[in-house]
Structure formats: structure tokens, C-alpha cells
């Protein structure tokens, strides 16, 4: 309840005004109803003129409620996690559930893989081999595995040649002189070099060889992994610990059957102490876990493999021209390190060049690439001269105006020597019978919707540049349109 005093003064307010009704007071206090409490002296509120406010200071963010054109297109969703996009791009799909099962497809096995009766047939790869090939990264994203129900390969003429080499190596392993067969796979782009290497790897897995595969030579030399000088090496060499650890892990996974039984027979000098009664598997596991120990572990593994009674070894590499030149790594003088000074590359090249032999026999396979290959004039020259030797044409002359990489020239000098056993294996075009065989496989898988008859096979065979298998697959399965 308001106090009486307050109320009285309220009622007096208007009376006061009427009492002093002078002009001056009227100006001072305008007339209002005596109970109005509104501020009567206020002028009528003026409408604010637009745009009278000062422009915002530079660099100050203002609230912008207008719709901007770009805002609707901006994708505000959650970004994929780091590495996810690349993983998706590099994902290898080996099966297509929509493709039809090919009833006539037979699997390669330990018994039939070396048989020449397979020539011209499409053969399936058994599951353990597929797993092992996946472990050594033999499949590539550019190859068409994702179209078919399961991986299968065509036993083409070159594959049979390769298989015969495997047979030779196995036969010699039984005797006193254990042969190391060395081959470089060459041929046209999309001609099937990588797939032939994969066939070699699968043969080795089936025949229970020990397989070490360098899946992509570019990854060794492009300076994406760490490197360190190797102590006590002269001229100085460099180890790549992370890469070697990765290679060991791939090798361990791929040669599971071998590592199940293998034991350590020798004494090794390792930076890490081995537990007592350790198996070879544990030794490799130590190398994988401690990247610093990976190179000594690799050497120890090699020593174990060199003992008599061990299986034959397949050393394989893909993209040879990357390791036949300077790498991207720099030495202390900021000069490029030659790829042959990297320990892993050195290990491979020594066996490819014949400087070292595989102790229990085996094979060294290197595939060249035509789509991802830096120019290596020395390698090209050596390959050309090997081809000239094969076709008995004139040997090529070295172009004196190109810089020569002497280390590559020396490493591959056996290619120009007809007596030496380093040779090229040229992967050419398919014959029409082979083309027909693989096209029937395409058609049976439901990926080629056409009757496979002579004229159709011939048409596709000629469109594929006289049987280039990559082009054949492209124009019969992929059909770019």
C-alpha cells in the first residue's frame, strides 16, 4: 500500500500547475493529465535514418544474417578422417558378388602349377595364395580384379615360360649347383608385366618358396620414410628402418607356413636381446616392433635363410627404373643418394646383378613399368641390348650426349652378355587363342555381354593393339563410353 505522503504529493501536482498558470511555467511544464506518469517532456521519438550508424571498423566481425550464395553450397558435414580418402582410393577389391561363378574354372595347386598343360587356360588362385599375395601387395588398383567373383589368371605363353624357369630352379636345387635365375620383365604398357610378376609370386607361394617382394620401388626411393647412415659401412650406406620393418611384417604374414616351423640355428648380433628358445618368427617380430633393429633383423633372417636345407627364395620387385637412378634422399653434403646406397635396394640389386647368389637357389624377378617410370637411360640401354641379343640384331650404341649412370650400367652389365644368366622376359601380346580363352572367361563371368565367336575375338584382339591384354580388358569389360 502506498504511503499517504506519496499520494498527497501526487494529488497536489496538478493543483500546483494551475495555481502558477504563467506563460513561463506553461513552457516549463506542459499540461498533462494529473494521473499520467509518462514522461511528458519527451519529444516525439524520431525515426532513425537508415545508414546513419558508422561503418564497422576494419577487422571487426559483424553479424551477417543475409543469405549468401555460397552458404548453401558449403558442405558443413563431418569430414572424413585423416587417411580415409586415400585408403578408399587405394582399396583393393578382389571380388564382385554380382559376377557369375565360372563353373569351368579350376584352381592352381602345388601339383598342377608347373604343368605346361595349363597353357592358354584361365586358372583360379586358391584362397591362401590370394591372402599371401594381398599381404605382399601384389594386387594393384588399376587391375580389373574387382569385376570378377574371385581372382583368376590367364596362363599365357610367357607365364608358362616363367613356370618352366621355376621348374629349372627347383630341379637344380636338388643337385649340387643351386641356380639363381634372374629375369627382368619388360614389355608394352598394359601388357601384363605386373600380372606376370603376380603369377610368379603365386607360383612361388604354391611351391612353398620363401618370398620377399618389394611391392613398389618408388616407395623405397621417394624419401617418404626415414633413413639413417649405416654404421661401419664404407662407402656409406643408408638404412630405412620404418620401411624395413614394414617389409619384415609383410614377409612374416606372407610366409606364414614357413615361419610356423622355422627355428633359429645361428647366433646373431642384435641390438635387442632375444629371449631364450626364440623362434625365427619371434626374431622377425622383434624387428617389426623395434624399427631401429629392423635392418639387423633382416640380415639375421637372411643368414638363417642362407643355411642349407632352407627353401628356395623368390626376390621380386616392381617398378625397376625407380631404383636404377638417384633416390630422393640427400646425404650430409646435400647431394642425392644413389638408390644402390640404400641397404634394401642394395640387397636386391646385388642379387639381380649376380654379385651375390641365392644360397639355396631361387629366382630374382624384376618388373619394369611403362606408366610410372622415371627415365633411366642406362636401364633402357641394357634392356635394348638384351633384346638385340635375343633377336640377333645389331647391338645399340650408347648415346654419348646422355649422362651415364655407371652404377646401373655395371649392375646390369650381364644383360649385354649372352653367356650370363640375367635376361629379359618380354611380355608381348596375347595370341588369338589366349584372347579367346580369357574372353570366354569374361563372358562366363557375365562381364562381357556378347557371343564370343571368331570374328568378335578378332575384332577385340585387333582393337587391343594385337592382343595387349590390358587394352583387351578395357575394350571388352570396361568399355569406356
Amino acid at each position: 500500500m502506498p504511503s499517504a505522503n506519496c499520494l498527497r504529493s501526487f494529488s497536489q501536482l496538478s493543483l500546483d500547475a494551475t495555481a502558477h498558470s504563467t506563460a513561463a511555467s506553461r513552457f516549463l511544464q506542459p499540461r498533462v493529465a494529473c494521473f499520467s506518469t509518462s514522461a511528458a517532456r519527451h519529444a516525439n521519438p524520431q525515426m532513425k535514418k537508415k545508414g546513419m550508424t558508422a561503418a564497422p571498423k576494419k577487422g571487426v566481425k559483424t553479424l551477417n544474417t543475409k543469405k549468401s550464395k555460397g552458404a548453401s553450397n558449403n558442405d558443413m558435414g563431418k569430414r572424413p578422417a585423416q587417411g580415409e580418402r586415400k585408403a578408399q582410393r587405394k582399396r583393393i577389391v578382389l571380388s564382385n558378388n554380382n559376377a557369375l561363378e565360372v563353373s569351368s574354372l579350376k584352381d592352381l595347386s602345388k601339383a598342377n602349377v608347373l604343368s605346361e598343360a595349363n597353357q592358354g587356360l584361365v586358372m583360379g588362385l586358391p584362397e591362401p595364395v590370394v591372402d599371401a599375395l594381398r599381404d605382399v601387395e601384389a594386387f594393384k588398383t588399376t587391375q580389373g580384379w574387382s569385376f570378377f567373383r574371385r581372382p583368376a589368371v590367364l596362363m599365357r605363353k610367357e607365364a608358362i615360360q616363367l613356370v618352366q624357369l621355376f621348374k629349372e630352379a627347383e630341379d637344380s636345387a636338388a643337385g649340387a649347383t643351386k641356380r639363381t635365375i634372374r629375369r627382368i620383365l619388360t614389355g608394352e604398357r598394359k601388357g601384363g608385366k605386373s600380372t606376370l610378376l603376380l603369377q610368379g609370386l603365386s607360383t612361388a607361394f604354391l611351391r612353398q618358396w620363401f618370398v620377399i617382394n618389394l611391392p613398389e620401388c618408388q616407395d623405397i626411393v621417394n624419401a617418404h620414410t626415414d633413413y639413417a647412415p649405416l654404421e661401419g659401412s664404407k662407402p656409406i650406406q643408408y638404412t630405412q628402418d620404418t620401411y624395413t620393418a614394414g617389409l619384415l611384417s609383410q614377409t612374416l604374414k606372407a610366409n606364414k607356413a614357413y615361419f610356423e616351423k622355422a627355428t633359429i640355428t645361428q647366433k646373431h648380433e642384435l641390438p635387442v636381446t632375444l629371449p631364450a628358445k626364440a623362434k625365427l618368427k619371434d626374431l622377425v617380430a622383434i624387428g617389426i616392433a623395434n624399427a631401429e633393429a629392423s635392418w639387423p633383423v633382416f640380415k639375421a633372417l637372411w643368414t638363417e635363410l642362407s643355411q642349407p636345407g632352407q627353401p628356395q627364395i623368390l626376390l621380386a620387385a616392381e617398378g625397376l627404373s625407380h631404383i636404377m637412378q638417384n633416390s630422393e634422399y640427400m646425404n650430409a653434403d646435400v647431394k642425392r643418394i644413389h638408390a644402390h646406397d640404400l641397404t634394401i635396394v642394395r640387397h636386391f640389386v646385388d642379387h639381380l646383378s649376380g654379385a651375390k647368389q641365392l644360397p639355396n637357389g631361387g629366382m630374382v624377378l624384376a618388373a619394369t613399368s611403362k606408366s610410372n617410370a622415371p627415365t633411366s637411360p642406362a636401364l633402357d640401354f641394357r634392356i635394348k641390348s638384351a633384346e638385340a641379343l635375343k633377336t640377333k640384331t645389331e647391338l645399340p650404341q650408347w648415346n654419348p650426349y646422355t649422362a651415364v649412370d655407371m652404377r646401373t650400367m655395371d649392375a646390369l652389365k650381364d644383360l649385354s652378355d649372352p653367356k650370363a644368366d640375367l635376361d629379359v622376359l618380354e611380355v608381348g601380346g596375347l595370341s588369338k587363342e589366349e584372347a579367346r580363352s580369357i574372353m570366354e572367361y569374361y563372358a562366363e563371368s557375365g562381364m562381357l555381354r556378347h557371343q564370343v565367336n571368331d570374328s568378335f575375338v578378332t575384332e577385340k584382339w585387333s582393337l587391343a593393339g594385337m592382343g595387349n591384354i590390358g587394352e583387351l580388358e578395357k575394350n571388352s569389360v570396361r568399355t569406356r563410353l
Binding site: 558442405d75 577389391v93 574387382s146 569385376f147 555381354r449 568399355t479 563410353l481
Partner: protein, 338 residues
Amino acid sequence: MPPRLNVSAFSRSIAFRPKPQVQWPARSALRMAPSQSRFYADDAPAQDRSHKPSSEPIEHVSEEAAKTAQIMGEKGPDVNQGTPVEDIVKGDKEAQKNLPKVMQDAIKQGNKTPAPKGSRSYSTMMTRSNEGADMGLVDFEAASKLPATPGLKFEAPTLPLPKDGHVKHRYDPVVEQVTNLLMRHGKKSVAQRQMAVTLQYLRTSPIPTINPARPLLPGAPPPSHLPLNPVLYLTLAIDSVAPLLRIKAIKGAAGGGAALQLPNPLSQRQRRRTAIQWILTAASKRRNVGSGKNSLGQRVAQEVISVIEGKSGVWEKRNAIHKLGVAARANIVLPKRR
């Protein structure tokens, strides 16, 4: 004012004419009266020399020869057939001089067949060193044989021609249309690559589940058949969402400056074009999850799959157009029947 009457029609239309007097005067304005003026050519039947033997056209050589032969009691050339020029000028040296060069050469040559020209000293064929000279030409021997039909250099093709027989129309029409609508800045090969990615994605994607609320075209194959035939997959998706009509707005026709909405039927190609553009717009608005240059093709394929599964927003667009079309049906004014 007298009524306008077609006099001649009047006389014709009345079949019953009891009195000839009822007829209008014979000299009607409409009847053609012989003209009073005469032209020069009219008055000279005597000048017509057409029946005179001298004015007859000269007989054809062979006819003449036949007549001569008849007179002489010999057997002349057959008048029913034309005579080749060579026969006419045979033995006439003067006439032979005026013949075209080709015919002169042919006469000189006589019956001998000419030797083939242009045997090159170098080879125009690339051969592989380890294989024979077979270039993969289909039925190479058959082509070199003499064709059965005269006048053809090679054997006639068997009809009907195969679907991909024409180089400019060798792809499926729907695939071609999508490719062309995918193309930006005239880069067709880029569009073709995206198209190939799309078809590849459709081919490897799992079998779609059809939403019964969004029926596909009647007579569509079961969904299990679709991934193995990606072109059919694409065609089915496009044809299923293709609108039947478009709404044409005629400015000011509704009165008061308002536009009159008129439904307008579309041709098959137009319908497909609309559907493809809807699908491509929806695909380009999809989120790009991967990386690399094949992303657009994948998103188009995902959109096609969602169309088939009835999840796509494209169906809404189609339904909206059809609803508008039903409403605008009232605006159609058909021409009156008489």
C-alpha cells in the same frame, strides 16, 4: 439488292426442271462466250506441218539400222534395247576421235584386263616380328574374292546392320545422352571416363531393393538382373523418373498479366533429358566423400541406385510436375467440334 446467287450452281443443283422457260437466259455472264478477238495462230490449220514426214524427228541410229536391215532383208539390231556408243562408232575413225578419253582408252585396250596399278615398293602394314602377317582383319580372304553382286567393291553387308554398326551411333542412346549431359566445357573424354566409372559402380554394387511405393516402369526386369546389365540399370532409372510432361507458362494469357500454365507432352528424348538433368543435379549436390577424379561418376551411380530404390528426391520433382500438370489440365481449351 438482288440475292447473290450462283447461277450455274443453281441450275445444276435442281434436278427437276419441268419447264425450260424457267431457266435463266442462256447467255449468262458466267458462261464462256467465244471471244470476238482472234489471235494469229488460230486461223492457220493449213500451216500445221506436224503431220508432214519432213517434220518428224530423226530416227534413232539403231532404229534406222533396223529399218535398213529390214529393207535389205537382214537381221538388224534389237530396237527394244539401247545401243552402246561403242557399237555405233565401231569402225568409224572420225567419230572415234570425238569420244571421251576413257572410251578411247578402252577401245585401244581391247579385251585385255588392265594390270593393277600402285604396287608400292614399301609395306603399309605393321607386323609383329614373332607373328605372321595376320593383322586381325576379319575375313580377309573373303573380301578379296569377287563379290557376287556386280558393281560392289566389297561384299554387301548382311542386313539388318548391327546396332553398333555406325561409328557415330555405336553406343547405347541413353548412355550417349547421359555422357553428353555430363560433359562440361566440351571435354567429352572426361565425361566418358565418368560414365565408365558410373557403369562400373553400378556393376559392382549390391542388388537394389525396390520400394513398392515408388514403382518402376511396368515390365522392368527383377532387381537381381540389374547389376549385370549396367546400361539397363541406368536406362530403367532414367525412364522410371522421367516426367510425362512439362508445364508451359504462356505469358499474360490467363488475364491480368498472369501466366497461363499449360501442360505440354514431351517426347521420349525430352523426357529422358529432364530426368537425367535432375539426376545429375542431385548427384552434384551429393557429398564428395572420397578423393580423386572418379568422384562425380561414383556420385551419379549412387544417385541412380537411390532412384531405383525409391529414396531419391528426384521422385518428388516428378510427382510435383505431374500434380501441376493435373491442375493445369483445366487450362487446356480444345478446339470446338463442328
